[in-house]
């Protein structure tokens, strides 16, 4: 086989590997980004359950899929956002956990989710997504219940 043909074959093979690899990568990424289900028990009741950091650690150790709402003592914007959290729970008839900032600051996520109010979504005990109270991009989701619903639907089957 002459060198030119060999060169073309090598290039084609490389392209197939690269494109195939990219396709596989994006395919995996798409699967990972598909909305997932919470633990079935969280679809059975409509409630907000207050927890402390030890209960949070249990949920993480058990690798559960759950929602955690972060609030802060005496924070008026947390109180206002709380009403949207309640609307979300009632509308979707699900259970979410609520943790106060003092308790949350004892967890390993303290430096990542720095400010309340926040909503956090956990998949298999790992933080999948959260609302950042200092992010201009996330501000829209704090504004009303319907945009908050939209945010959740990106990650959770409701």
């Amino acid at each position: 086989m002459n060198k030119k043909v060999l060169g073309i074959v090598v290039v084609v093979v490389l392209l197939v590997v690269i494109i195939g690899g990219c396709g596989l990568f994006f395919g995996i990424k798409a699967i990972n980004n598909k909305p997932f289900r919470l633990e079935e028990k969280y679809y059975e009741n409509m409630s907000i359950i207050d927890i402390k950091h030890d209960r949070y650690e249990e949920l993480v150790d058990k690798k559960e899929n759950f929602i955690l709402y972060l609030t802060l003592d005496g924070c008026t914007s947390c109180v206002v956002f709380g009403s949207k959290a309640v609307d979300f729970v009632v509308k979707n008839k699900i259970t979410v956990y609520r943790i106060e900032y003092k308790e949350f600051s004892q967890t390993d996520l303290k430096d990542e989710v720095k400010y309340a109010p926040s909503m956090m979504i956990f998949k298999k005990g790992k933080l999948k997504a959260y609302l950042d109270a200092q992010s201009d991009e996330d501000l829209q989701y704090y504004k009303d219940s319907s945009t908050l619903q939209t945010w959740f639907e990106k990650y959770i089957e409701l």
Binding site: D50, T71, L72, D73, G74, C75, T76, S77, C78, V79, V80, F81, G82, S83, R98, E100, Y101, K102, K114, Y115, A116, P117, D132, A133, Q134, S135, D136, E137, D138, L139, Y142
Partner: protein
Amino acid sequence: MKKTKYILLLIVVSLLLVGCTNKKVSDLPKPEVTGGQRGELGIDKNINEETIDKYLGRTDSVYRDMRMLEDPASYEKIGGDRYLSGFVNGFEIVPLPYLIEVTGLPEAVGNTYAGKTLFKMDRNGKYQPMYEESMAILEYLFPKDKNIFLMCGGGGYAGMTKGLLVSLGWDENNIYNVGGFWYYEGKNKVEVKNDKGTYDFWKVPYHNIDFKTLTEVK
């Protein structure tokens, strides 16, 4: 001639030295609001819970924490604490609900303090003094010729205070919303809640306003 030169040199050196020692006093970034939900409260991007320790103790500034010692709002119904359980050393407490009416809290929490206030908002959205002494008290607590650092639990009351002051003629470039005490992890934390679960309010530098001694505006 030589003597004059030495005197001039001495004056120049003195001015330079004075300039250097005053460098810290003049070295404040302009107020700049941070992003997101925190930005909605007016919390500052540069001077906030994480950095406030660098700006404490300035002689050209005052430091005010806008919380109540005990808030009538039922924060425990949402897992909170209605008491002032700590503050940053250097900050003095001036309860915002004594300055203006605080509204908009959800039903579960109920109302905060609903008693007398120094100012009330009229139908045109402007703050009107309820007492002859209202403005003098405000100017005493928040001197117009000083930088004013404001703090509270999460940044909300501090933001409302800045809004009040600016609407009454204070320069917004001298007022910083430092944010919320609960995010503060610096070296100047003063714990008020003790191991017995009670509160050592005697530690708190608190500005009480006794409305019985004031003259109502007619």
